[in-house]
């Protein structure tokens, strides 16, 4: 339920993580997709999953260097919906942990 907290509550681990990667200006840093917020536009750095799950991601068009937008989270904050070259794909937050994305993100809309 950590995703429900607002970034202002800095004593919670999620917000801390979020603030940390936002304050870094080292652009080689990457962060799991599961920590991104609605509207974030990020670039895929690496897929860390294994076996069938990773192949599934590759088949759906997830790959290094690809731009991705977090469209929304489901009403119960899981799963999440992302957009990838015009395709809308939903995946569970725990699965999104296996997608490393750039921390350089543009936040568009809310």
């Amino acid at each position: 339920m950590l995703h429900l907290t607002s970034p202002q509550d800095s004593n919670l681990s999620f917000s801390q993580g979020y603030d940390t990667f936002h304050s870094k200006d080292n652009n080689t840093m990457s962060t799991p997709l599961s920590l991104c917020r609605e509207g974030d536009q990020v670039i895929i750095k690496k897929l860390t999953g294994h076996g069938g799950f990773k192949k599934r991601l590759l088949d759906m068009g997830f790959r290094k260097g690809k731009e991705l937008t977090v469209v929304r989270y489901a009403p119960l904050r899981d799963p999440m919906e992302v957009e990838l070259s015009g395709n809308h794909i939903s995946l569970r937050v725990e699965e999104a942990e296996h997608i490393e994305v750039s921390d350089q993100k543009t936040h568009h809309g809310e």
Partner: protein
């Protein structure tokens, strides 16, 4: 078409493509309702076949499950790939969503690598044209090494040309096509070459497929192909090389070969598209996204979903109640007709009570199934089904299920039969089995008469609350068992949820109708025979051994009373006598049923049911309840020999029950009825859908065991708490 061609030419085509590429509407457009659904390789994956006759040839089509690639991950994808590799097809037609070329061509590239004759159908061309995108078709076709046809599946535009091209390719076989290979770079190519030649050496299965493709699959670490190589003599040598190459590439690139191969394929696609596809930048916020802003909105998503579910439920069960009534009347009329035209005999009884009654019991669910599947096909074709999974997944995932499992479970409230069938919407076999296992626990409408009778009899002031509680508990047990099975039987078998949310589309009426017709045909074909046999068995058990003597004794007595009625003119005597006749009829019924096999079985299981406080009459009613749950009420009516009415409102039955059982026993009985196997039709449906005797027996066994255990706890918990 050339005139010199043989008019008896026949060709087979396989239609493949990504999910949501419009493949099925093309298939429907080509074959019309002239389709057959079959299973491929004994799994519950529909493979549809259809044919079309043209002036000089007959064309056979197979619509194989949609797939994103030839990785073969879910059951559907394994079937799809198996069919593409092993199926006896002349040409593969890959339906490509032309508005989404990049990802759709990913499958196309892998098909090209297979080396089988291929035609690309660039579908949804109208949408592509509207977006202003231009394609240099000749050049792209040249780069991909396969002809490209433009189609609009929804309207049928371009389909004739697609068929012409496909037939031409089928006639000429490979001659038209030039081999195209994706270049994977020096390191991967070396590995491919080595593995190909080793595979060649051990004579690995060819089937018109390039060795290069198998080599690539080995580098992608494909489980099934690796297993097949292992099973081939000399395969160990190939697998050794595979391991070496995989390690070498991993060491060189710090990335597995599968990822590198995938990147190269996308590189090839983007390269080809860069040369040939001219896109005009489009506004990203399209209609679909606007709809989703509402449909999956934090606050509106659930009310909207509940409204749709309510509509589907009402349509299925309230609207469906009318045709059901007609069917029941029809079956009753047919039964009466046979009853009237044949003399009383065992054969008549078999025909009327066994066959007509049994088959009628199957046909009567047909309206439910038709309407439910019409609704489901609309949910699927519009794309809303994926959104249901999206908003429900968090809840369903808790019990190890997929978001889509919610629909079968909720439909179970009406009837478990269509609910079990609705589990087909689930892609992974594991999710499907788990859903089918717990769906029968949901209280269906046939159980309601039993609830009404017992709640009304024993808890007249709280009947509504008791019934609500029973519904609540039936969901509770379904979720609880789901969680338990997830933790025990299905541990660590989870499939990824990664799923496309396709753009919303308006479904075509034709495809929804075809979908509905398919399910109905399937249901009747599959269920009819088995239920017929079961009905005859049940009829036999509830009529044999024959008690001719007892029966004729009663008949004689009734006859005597009958003749006395005719002799007298006094209306009070007449009434008294006909009451006596009625009484005798019921006594006859009760005595005979007690001595039939079913009656004996009911008495035989008394020691087992004794701890629950059930007597033989309850037991017999539970056994007859296998036919249909509402039969429990009418059996109890017969066994308590209450005249005339034996429905759940009957005053006489209620007071008889009140005299015999304690409220606590009644409660235990209610829980037992709630949890044990719904009915024979549901059981047969379950066996057919789950396609495994092991799981079917498990389902039957666990439901009965669960019912017993819970009824036991209800009774003994109550006794310990001092409730009588």
């Amino acid at each position: 078409m050339a005139n010199n061609s043989n008019p008896t030419d026949s060709y087979t085509f396989a239609l493949t493509g990504n999910p949501n590429c419009g493949k099925t509407s093309i298939f429907n457009e080509i074959t019309g309702a002239n389709q057959k659904v079959g299973n491929w390789g004994g799994v519950t994956v529909d493979v549809k076949t259809g044919s079309v006759r043209r002036t000089d040839s007959k064309l056979y089509f197979t619509d194989i499950p949609g797939t994103y690639s030839l990785s073969a991950y879910t059951m559907e994808e394994i079937v799809a790939r198996d069919y593409i590799i092993n199926g006896n097809t002349d040409v593969i037609i890959d339906v490509v969503d032309s508005t989404n070329l990049e990802r759709n061509l990913y499958l196309a590239v892998q098909l090209i690598e297979l080396g089988k004759p291929l035609v690309l159908a660039f579908n949804m061309y109208d949408e592509l044209a509207r977006s202003g995108t231009q394609i240099d078709t000749d050049q792209l076709s040249h780069l991909l090494g396969a002809p490209i046809c433009y189609t609009v599946g929804r309207t049928g535009k371009g389909i004739e040309e697609l068929l012409d091209t496909s037939v031409t390719i089928a006639r000429e076989k490979y001659s038209r096509q030039h081999p195209v290979n994706v270049q994977y770079g020096h390191d991967l190519e070396t590995a491919i070459a080595k593995l190909s030649s080793l595979l060649e050496e051990i004579d690995f299965q060819q089937r018109g497929i390039h060795m290069r493709w198998y080599a690539l699959k080995l580098l992608e670490d494909d489980d099934l192909i690796t297993q097949q190589v292992k099973d081939t003599t000399g395969g160990e040598k190939v697998l050794e090389e595979q391991q070496q190459q995989l390690e070498r590439i991993e060491a060189l690139y710090h990335e597995d070969a599968a990822t590198l191969i995938s990147e190269k394929r996308y590189g090839f696609i983007l390269g080809a598209m860069g040369e040939t596809v001219k896109r005009t930048p489009v506004d990203r916020i399209n209609l679909s996204e606007k709809i989703d802003g509402i449909m999956t909105n934090r606050f509106l998503a659930y009310p909207i979903f509940a409204a749709f579910m309510w509509l589907l439920f009402q349509a299925t069960f309230s609207l469906g109640a009318y045709p059901m009534e007609w069917i029941e009347t029809g079956v009753g009329w047919l039964g009466a007709l046979v009853q009237g035209s044949l003399g009383p005999s065992m054969f008549r009884s078999l025909l009327v009570d066994g066959i007509i009654g049994g088959v009628g019991g199957v046909v009567v669910f047909l309206p439910n199934i038709l309407i439910l599947f019409f609704g489901i096909s609309i949910l699927e074709d519009t794309g809303y089904m994926a959104r249901i999974a999206f908003i429900m997944d968090k809840l369903m995932h808790r019990i190890g299920l997929h978001g889509k499992s919610f629909i079968p479970l909720i439909m179970g409230i009406g009837c478990n039969v269509p609910a079990i069938m609705a589990a087909r919407t689930l892609e992974s076999n594991r999710d499907r089995i788990l859903t089918i296992l717990i769906a029968p626990l949901i209280t269906c409408s046939a159980r309601l008469p039993v609830y009404i009778l017992f709640a009304g009899t024993f808890f007249p002031n709280n009947a509504g609350n008791i019934i609500f509680m029973l519904y609540f508990f039936s969901f509770f047990f379904a979720f609880f068992m789901g969680l338990l099975f997830k933790k025990t039987l299905f541990r660590g078998e989870e499939y990824p949820f990664v799923m496309e949310l396709p753009p919303y589309r308006i479904p075509t009426f034709k495809s929804s109708l075809i979908h509905m017709w398919e399910k109905a045909k399937h249901y009747l074909q599959k269920m009819g025979g088995v239920v017929l046999i079961f009905s005859i068995v049940i009829w036999f058990l509830s009529n044999f051994p024959l008690q001719t003597e007892t029966m004729s004794e009663y008949d004689q007595e009734i006859q005597q009373l009958q003749s006395r009625i005719e002799l007298t003119d006094d209306p009070t005597t007449q009434n008294r006598l006909s009451d006596e006749i009625e009484e005798l009829r019921f006594e006859k019924h009760r005595v005979t049923i007690k001595n039939t096999y079913i009656g004996r079985a009911g008495q035989l299981i008394t020691p087992v049911m004794d701890p629950l406080g059930f007597d033989w009459r309850m037991n017999v009613s539970l056994i007859t309840g296998f036919v249909a749950k509402e039969v429990v009420v009418s059996t109890l009516g017969v066994l308590f020999t209450v005249g005339g009415e034996d429905d759940e409102e009957s005053e006489a039955l209620q007071s008889a029950l009140r005299r015999t059982y304690t409220p606590l026993t009644a409660m235990a009985f209610l829980f037992f009825v709630m949890l044990y196997t719904p009915c024979i039709v549901a059981l047969v449906t379950l066996i057919r859908e789950i396609q495994s005797w092991k799981w079917s027996l498990f389902s039957l066994g666990y439901q009965i065991a669960l019912a017993w255990i819970i009824a036991f706890f209800v009774r003994w918990g109550g006794l310990l708490l001092g409730i009588v």
